[in-house]
């Protein structure tokens, strides 16, 4: 193979065809991220010119996020089940490994990326209303926020261990700076230092784990890792050399350290309360929603990617070449070569299926491969369940004694990370036993992410607006607020009740979906004759924790409504009837009203889960 062939194959892989950018090309799938890149560059360049200093970066950031959401187009791709004909259309989204297998583009990436872009839009408006980046700082903050969002999009779509590490770093490094964005504040600089030191340490440990796993398995491409593991474990666990098994387990544990840090899972959570207290409420909203959603998506990608044989998808440009076979633009021979060169993932399948070249004969080879991966799934599921149990319990217990509202919400974020890890454990345990149930579990997680986005953004928005109003973030200073700004207190109470998961509010929908997936998982795993007690344990722990969380959320509500106003509180400069108040209601509306009509959300979540498990 000469250089010319190589380059032309790379072109086909990125653009889909030799002469034009097709709808099923890598670049088209990556368009939302490219828009974000362009927005970041525009914000940096505009400042170089004298005129640009007067431009309000808010508008550029807002336009960029809206354009990204528009190109991500969840309304197009998250619909009903596609028929085979529809899936063969170049613009349809099924599973497609883009950029030579580094990233994967499927409905799950569409869903989570859309959630991230929607959050970016709401967040940019929120920062405008709360006024934290002034005109001087706004290019910096928006650049960092959108840069981190780009990293999070890569986390959502990562399909290669290198991309896992790169994406985590791309999301983390701007977050470190964001934590310390307030100049001359002791606490902010301390938060940034703690975050960056812990974060870099966790990333380093994760990288070492990646090097072990990739080195033992001779690949870093996650679907190929699953195939290699299946081949290794095909003779049962005892057939694998014990040293190799130990190194693999060690590597998996080290990788889980990095993921747990991003999820703020106990025992790698200690940065979270400190960073949340030191950083501004705006940054907290970003870290607690976007960062957490992306980390969960990455957990799903890594845990499912290594434990499940990936469903077959299309290569970039493949469908376009099929539907436009007679078009002069395409060069059919080189598309064939593309699959040869870059899609090595298919090779081990054929090796396992006894030199089966055609797809029809490779398919049945999947089943034994899935079965031989059962020990990997059981190990991963138990590891995630362990993290979920201690994270959830510790987060809720520690939140109980907090006096600072940001710290309280930080522990609440930790607890919610625990809740959100529960369905992942159930899904990994169910995969290969009850694939439909596993898909429902993913859908439950997707619903929880969407619901949680609005609840936590709303909570931090209230904190930011009240901080502007009275320069205090102590819960004690919230006493008797209901007499000053009743509408805001109602909003905040609705959000807090939503975070508990009380029935009429959206938090209940999320919790219900998650606990349902645990019951599904327990039943399916027990029916298959494997130990599923840990899923039942997760369910019990989740239930008890919901009860515990009632106390500390309700305490805030009680302080705001029943307690008398403190005499020494700073004067409150705030009105319910303002843009900020309207924004709060806009954010609270989905929390309060989703129960009336959540079919559309459930349908989108089901669509998101469709292409993950074969």
């Amino acid at each position: 193979m000469n250089l010319h062939d190589l380059v032309s194959q790379l072109i086909i892989d990125s653009t889909g065809s030799a002469s034009l950018i097709t709808p099923d090309s890598s670049l088209r799938a990556f368009l939302p991220e490219l828009v974000i890149c362009a927005t970041v560059l525009a914000m940096l360049f505009v400042r170089l010119f004298r005129v640009g200093r007067y431009v309000d970066m808010f508008w550029i950031a807002l336009a960029g996020s809206i354009a990204a959401l528009y190109f991500a187009a969840p309304w197009d791709h998250l619909g009903a089940v596609l028929t085979a004909d529809q899936a063969a259309h170049p613009a349809a989204v099924t599973r497609m490994e883009i950029f030579t297998g580094m990233l994967v583009y499927d409905t799950f990436s569409v869903y989570v990326r859309s959630a991230l872009f929607l959050f970016a839009i709401l967040f940019v408006i929120f920062t405008r209303l709360s006024g934290i980046p002034d005109h001087e700082d706004s290019p910096d903050i928006y650049t960092l926020v959108l840069g981190a969002t780009l990293g999070m999009c890569l986390m959502v779509t990562a399909n290669h261990l290198l991309m896992v590490f790169m994406a985590v770093e791309m999301a983390s490094v701007p977050s470190y700076v964001l934590a310390g964005i307030l100049k001359g504040r002791r606490q902010a600089s301390e938060a940034a230092l703690k975050y960056s030191v812990y974060g870099a340490g966790a990333a380093g440990v994760m990288l070492y784990g990646i090097s072990l796993v990739a080195g033992i398995l001779n690949t870093a491409h996650i679907p190929t890792i699953a195939l290699t593991l299946a081949e290794k474990f095909s003779g049962g666990l005892s057939a694998v050399p014990s040293g190799e098994l130990m190194v693999l387990a060690l590597g998996a544990l080290l990788i889980s350290v990095g993921l747990a840090f991003k999820l703020s899972a106990v025992p790698f959570h200690f940065w979270c309360p400190d960073v949340f207290e030191g950083a501004t409420a705006e940054v907290n909203a970003f870290l607690s929603v976007a960062s957490k959603a992306a980390a969960l998506a990455l957990l799903v990608r890594v845990a499912l990617g290594m434990g499940v044989i990936a469903p077959t998808g299309f290569a970039p440009g493949e469908r376009w070449a099929k539907t436009h076979q007679n078009a002069p633009a395409t060069t059919p021979t080189s598309t064939d070569k593309t699959t040869d060169l870059f899609y090595i993932a298919q090779e081990p399948v054929t090796a396992a299926g006894a030199a089966a070249a055609a797809d029809s004969t490779a398919e049945p080879a999947k089943l034994p491969a899935m079965q031989s991966l059962a020990p990997v799934r059981s190990f991963t599921a138990k590891l995630i369940a362990f993290f979920a149990i201690i994270t959830c319990t510790f987060g809720n217990l520690a939140a109980y004694g907090q006096t600072n509202i940001k710290r309280l919400l930080a522990y609440s974020t930790i607890a919610h990370a625990g809740y959100m890890m529960m369905p992942v454990a159930a899904v990994v345990a169910m995969a290969g036993i009850d694939n439909a149930g596993a898909a429902r579990g993913i859908a439950g997680l997707a619903i929880y992410i969407a619901v949680y986005l609005f609840m936590n953004l709303g909570a931090f928005a209230v904190v930011a607006f009240l901080r502007n109003a009275m320069r205090s973030e102590e819960i004690a200073d919230y006493a008797g607020l209901v007499r000053r700004c009743p509408l805001t207190v109602v909003c905040f109470s609705l959000i807090l009740f939503g975070l508990i998961g009380l029935p009429p509010l959206s938090g209940f929908i999320g919790k219900f979906a998650i606990f349902a997936s645990l019951v599904d998982g327990w039943r399916a795993v027990e029916a298959a004759g494997q130990p599923g007690f840990y899923l039942l344990l997760l369910l019990i722990v989740g239930g008890i924790n919901t009860a515990i969380s009632l106390f500390y959320y309700l305490r805030v509500v009680k302080v705001m409504t029943i307690d008398d106003e403190p005499a020494d509180r700073p004067p409150l400069v705030y009105s319910d009837v303002s843009l900020a108040g309207a924004y709060l209601w806009l954010i609270t509306l989905p929390t309060a009203g989703l129960i009336v009509a959540w079919d559309w959300l459930s349908e989108m979540a089901d669509a998101a889960a469709r292409n993950l498990i074969g």
């Binding site: 470190y176 600089s189 230092l193 703690k194 030191v197 380093g204 440990v205 070492y208 001779n218 030191g278």
Partner: protein
């Protein structure tokens, strides 16, 4: 067995030392060095009081992983390898480590401006 040159024996290094690492250099030798770097880095991160010392520990950890990548990718050490992926990952990590160090140093400088020290023990305003 490869015998050490006479000069080395005279300097006190005996043939027994050479036996524990038999002559053909394998991946394991590199892994041992990588693991030593990793552990040193982790210990450095955990024990150093100075923020810059902690950052150096992080660099050691990253370089331990890098050594693994390159060793696993080298086709002179074993038959099945990680291939070019190994070298490429090492390259990316080097670049990322530089970016991360730049940001972390800027944050350390900011911390110094506010606290007039970079002793991480003085970062104790936030707790609970």
């Amino acid at each position: 067995m490869l015998r050490p040159p006479d000069g080395l024996v005279a300097d006190g290094i005996t043939a027994i030392d050479m036996d524990s690492f038999p002559p053909p250099i394998t991946v394991s030798h590199y892994l041992v060095v990588g693991a030593v770097l990793f552990v040193l880095g982790a210990v450095c991160m955990a024990t150093k009081r100075n923020a810059l010392g902690v950052l150096m520990g992080i660099e050691l950890v990253l370089n331990g992983a890098n050594l693994n990548f390159v060793a696993f990718g080298s086709r002179f050490l074993r038959q099945d390898t990680l291939g070019l992926d190994g070298e490429l990952m090492a390259l990316f990590v080097i670049v990322l480590a530089a970016a991360e160090a730049a940001v972390a140093l800027a944050i350390a400088l900011n911390f110094y401006n506010n606290h007039t020290t970079i002793d991480v023990d003085h970062a104790d305003d936030l707790k609970g």
